[in-house]
Amino acid sequence: MLNVKSKPQRNYVLYILFIFLSSLLILVDFFSNKEMSSYIPKSLTFEFNLDVFETTYIDSFNSLITSRAELVAENIRLEQEVRNLRALEIENDSLEEKIKSFENISLIKNFNNLNFVETSLIIKNSSNEFLVSGGTNQNFKNRDLVLDERGYVVGYLKEVFYSYSILETFLSQSFKIQLIDKYNNEYILSSDGNQLSLYSINILKFNTDIDFLFTDISYNHSGKFPVVDTRSINFELVNNQINTSFNISNIFTFNTQLFIPKSK
């Protein structure tokens, strides 16, 4: 492009003349009540065609933009909905598992007198003790029993803090619990970390159909829950005493649902 240098001022004269001419047009149009400016649009059907053009092409173009914007918005909404549904699916699976475990635990006898407070494993420490969620904030106390989803005792609370507690299980060397069978014979179950030792402390009546050793309310336990299945171990009376050792088999995992029974 050329860089035009300064022009002589007479170049503007014609422009100014035409500006005056245009002013004259305004005056004429003003006094003719816009007859001049509306003459061509009125006499031509172009305005109608312009309307058609506007309504067809511009509107369709606008609707294209609008529909595209709507599609984008709908897409964003659907993406969000899919995310929500995925989150709901995960939550639903988790709830189904919980319902299943609650159904299992509800089969325990004397369920009506107890509330089962759900807890879960947080971490395992170097002393083979497990940290579980919930503590004094959920009214947990020392020696509270901890059950798995089948209702078997997996341990008891050794120490209770505000929001978590330490669970003593069969894997802990200091695990020790007093048990009873259906004939009211009394036993002590202890662990050395590898094996469980069971010995009787009071045998009143021995029979082969003992089947289970339970916790009992007389030991300040919250209820009667099975701990040992005597059918799967060497459970024989020798010299009116029972003294046996067996391997730890009832190991729970991080997926196991845990419950703490509390009296109502």
Partner: protein, 148 residues
Amino acid sequence: MNILYFLTNFLLFSLTLIFENFLNLIVFNKYISISPFFLLLFIYSITRFNNKNIFPIMGTGLIYDIFLSENYLGVYTIVFLLVSVLINYIYEKLINFNFNLPFVFALNFIIYNIPHILNLNFLYNIVLSVFINYLLFLLIKRVMRLSV
């Protein structure tokens, strides 16, 4: 030759003005108006200011007044001619300092929008639009290698 010059420029101005209206229809924002016609007028008035441009500008103004405006016939004709003259006059004769180009641009953009001065959003519209249109002008200037 003069007729051809008039016709081509008239077509160029008219189409740019229609495009400006169409563009502002699509970019429907009350605070921003993009004015390619003003940019064209600005470039022409600085680099190609000539009496031959009077008829194309006037013709475009009349077309606008007749078909696209509710104003009296000649209003936009005056505005376009006045802007064209003022751009050239201020830029070439009146002032000469470092930022004269943006100053001339802003001042004439305000004059270009005088018919909308009663609009309530005029101030915001002008501030934003001057900025955006000046950026566009700089872009065109760089692309076309204009020596202004």
